[in-house]
Symmetry: C2
């Protein structure tokens, strides 16, 4: 069982008065212990109840972050980085108390190096903001987790999303990070060269470290020329399994699709209700193609043929920008659309990812597991990567539903692990997958991670209780 | 100065007799202290004089590697992994003595999962062997450093090569590693899912760790469908700078070229002499295009136009497989062709990589620096990544030439560092770039790397003296 039990308050420590005084002296009204401010920083998009930090500092610079870390370290007091609050795994919850460093005021795009296809941003820059500022350059930043997350938070959770099938994840698209380590040092993990063999890969060490090794304050990302042509398509299938098989074959043939999203009939129903669309309520794939005019046409024809071979029908095209935007907005709002299916519910979202050949078994297996549920469930996700999300809509006050949801979640994750997959394709470990991480990688690998954590953060002040249980 | 002074024998330790006995008992005739065997394992393609280990074990399994590490750890004695011996930075040289673990008998392709576009191989599998075994599948493994390196060694040095501009480096193309850590534990760093946010990125930690954190024994790599169409082209330019500018523009426009190699006139001359080709002795670009027939045609036309705009001429095409093979063989033999320009010489090869917009300044700057040399020099490399190699052909017995070469090397590296580039794009740090690594990333970053090294390898038995100086 991997239920939100890490929310135990046993390790929670109050804010030392001397630390509060020092932070207030240094940050003035950018330091807050106000209840509303604390509560805002103690919640994310996870199903966990709010767990506020004891205080919040609004950082405006890397130096500010150094100051918070130095003061907190002196008091052995937890530090929790806060970006946009769009995490799905409780990453920002202050389970041991602590000071939340809000990075939202570190929202400047520091440089757009169009000739190098890179941009360097402060950690609090939101992905939509970055793409807005890139508009005049003919370049874009492709990583798109749906939510308007911060680039720092996306780095910290190794986020990806709909475009990852073509452009990769944050792992592939971050060139360099500026990080404040728990000893208050400022490290730039790499230069801006596209590749390097210079020493240990500190960039990748911090990507996905979920705030447990330091605070990311600046990020250099890769950019891409906006494709000459883009086209999206919607296609319905007679069954979940046929839809998934169409995607598998598309990937195996190496068609360079930019996006391929699966949505089950129940998800489409929720989207129609929420976004006032009239999509056919059947297992559905959304595709997007990027390239030259000729290449997009070629890809689209190939995928259409593959889809037809798997019973795909009602192929609908969206080539005009506004039609594509409407389609992807509907997709991005799917999570919120699902939530509205059952007012007052909380959503538990699985995030398994498997080798592509096992995707059909993994999804149909998940569907079978979910069919036993007494509450609404949906399946959707970035199937081109082998990644999908089962969404379980539970009444958080119904202990039986909570327990049932956790049991079904466990079964879905274990099925993915039995296929050499992962418990989390893109959301991260946070509070909810600590046990699964051990199952997935084994005690020796976790011991290695723990030793790295211990040597970088010997006082365990950086976002304690996430990724691992605290010893 | 970063001359081969780490070759000091001060830290060299003889093989403890008890360790020798234990290894002999465990491995029989797969354990050797024969002079010829030791010498073979004490050299690579670097300019360093041979520095043999005290003994060699021929491992046939991960368990064998565990046994060597366990025995060596008990004696606090160094362990040096050995793949194909094609390293360029002295990675396998036994500067502190030690037992070389030869992985060449771990040469089995363990599984080809064509439906997942992955293969799992033992670390000693050579890249050409893997592609040979993939032939019937319609898939290929793209990373191509020129030398027929082992997949384990390529992982350990974060290798890349000619195809990296399109397919990425080992960093992007390894899904998972099996690693024996210095405490004798066997860790599988990840599953086979294409992406994962499950904990610290142990895969990327070991990629590029150059044998200093453990021994890689198995590697799961990504495969790609063999493109429907492939075409190569050779084009000459009036100057080095025009050639490089053509590449820069190609990259900035996002043309998905598969390869783009620069060769200076002197390199072409060396190739013509060595490979009996009749290429025009001018600054030259080799291109390769992968994709559908239509896409390859489109890319080729676009690049041809860009090349013409920069004075490119004599565009020659190689679309037949045998013509392409001849072309790339000539490119791959360039290093050996250069060596033959000056019989008895050793080659010092730089390996800087810079953001693409700085490539022209970086290469023309290097050319200016090299123009002062009293020995032959060439420039070639994977310019699409911003990576190139200056090859300095020196008489290793001429102290003045050695000193001059190191000085020129220093200048070229510092020029790249001043452009936010790296001292090594793909060869690794090894013995030769230890000082540059500190200049490049700074003391705090190196301290972090050292702490990670110390906590994973507390007795410093894994390939000591590489990446960092031993304290």
């Amino acid at each position: 069982m991997n239920h939100p039990t890490p929310l135990s308050q046993a390790l929670r420590r109050p804010l030392p008065a001397a630390l509060a005084d020092a932070l207030a002296a240094r940050f003035g009204d950018r330091f807050s212990v106000a209840q509303a401010v604390r509560e805002h920083h103690g919640r994310d998009e996870s199903p966990f109840p709010p767990t506020p930090p004891e205080a919040v500092v609004f950082a405006q610079s890397t130096d500010d972050v150094v100051a918070v870390i130095d003061l907190c370290r002196a008091h052995r007091y937890p530090v929790i980085p806060f970006g946009a609050g769009s995490s799905l795994e409780g990453h920002v919850l202050a389970v041991q108390g602590g000071v939340s460093i809000d990075l939202q005021q570190m929202n400047r795009v520091l440089s757009i190096d169009a000739d190098d296809l890179t941009a360097t941003v402060q950690a609090g820059v939101l992905r939509k903001q970055l793409n807005e500022e890139l508009k005049s350059t003919g370049l874009f930043f492709p990583i798109d987790p749906g939510a308007d997350a911060s680039i720092g938070g996306m780095s910290a959770t190794r986020a990806s999303g709909t475009n990852a099938v073509r452009y990769g994840t944050m792992r592939e698209n971050v060139l360099s990070l500026t990080v404040v380590t728990p000893d208050g040092k400022v490290i730039r993990t790499a230069g801006r060269a596209k590749k390097s063999s210079a020493g240990y890969d500190l960039t990748r060490l911090f990507i996905g470290s979920e705030g447990t090794l330091g605070v990311i304050t600046e990020v250099t990302v890769r950019l891409y020329p906006v494709p000459e042509a883009m086209s999206a398509a919607v296609v319905n299938f007679p069954s979940l399994s046929e839809a998934v098989r169409a995607v598998i074959q598309t990937i195996q043939l190496g068609v360079p699709i930019a996006r391929s999203e699966f949505l089950c009939a129940a998800t489409i129903r929720a989207i129609n209700a929420h976004s006032h669309t009239t999509l056919r309520e059947a297992p559905t794939l959304f595709f997007e193609f990027h390239g030259s005019e000729a290449s997009v046409k070629e890809q689209a024809e190939l995928v259409q043929q593959i889809a037809r071979d798997h019973g795909g029908q009602d192929f609908e095209w969206a080539s005009r920008p506004e039609d594509r935007t409407r389609l992807w907005n509907a997709r991005h709002n799917a999570y919120f659309a699902c939530l509205q299916v059952r007012p007052g519910c909380r959503a538990i979202s699985t995030d398994t990812c498997v080798p592509i050949s096992r995707l059909a078994d993994s999804i149909t297996g998940a569907r079978r597991i979910l069919d036993t549920a007494a509450f609404p469930t949906m399946i959707l996700g970035h199937v081109g990567d082998g990644n999908f999300h089962a969404v379980l809509l539970i009444d958080p006050n119904d202990a039986q539903e909570v327990a049932d949801a956790e049991r079904l979640n466990d079964e879905i994750v274990r099925l993915a692990l039995s296929m050499d997959g992962t418990c989390t394709g893109e959301h991260g470990v946070g509070l909810h997958k600590i046990g699964f991480l051990v199952e997935e990688r084994g005690d020796d690998a976790i011991d290695l991670m723990r030793r790295i954590k211990a040597v970088i953060d010997p006082h365990n002040i950086m976002n304690p209780g996430k990724v691992f249980t605290t010893p």
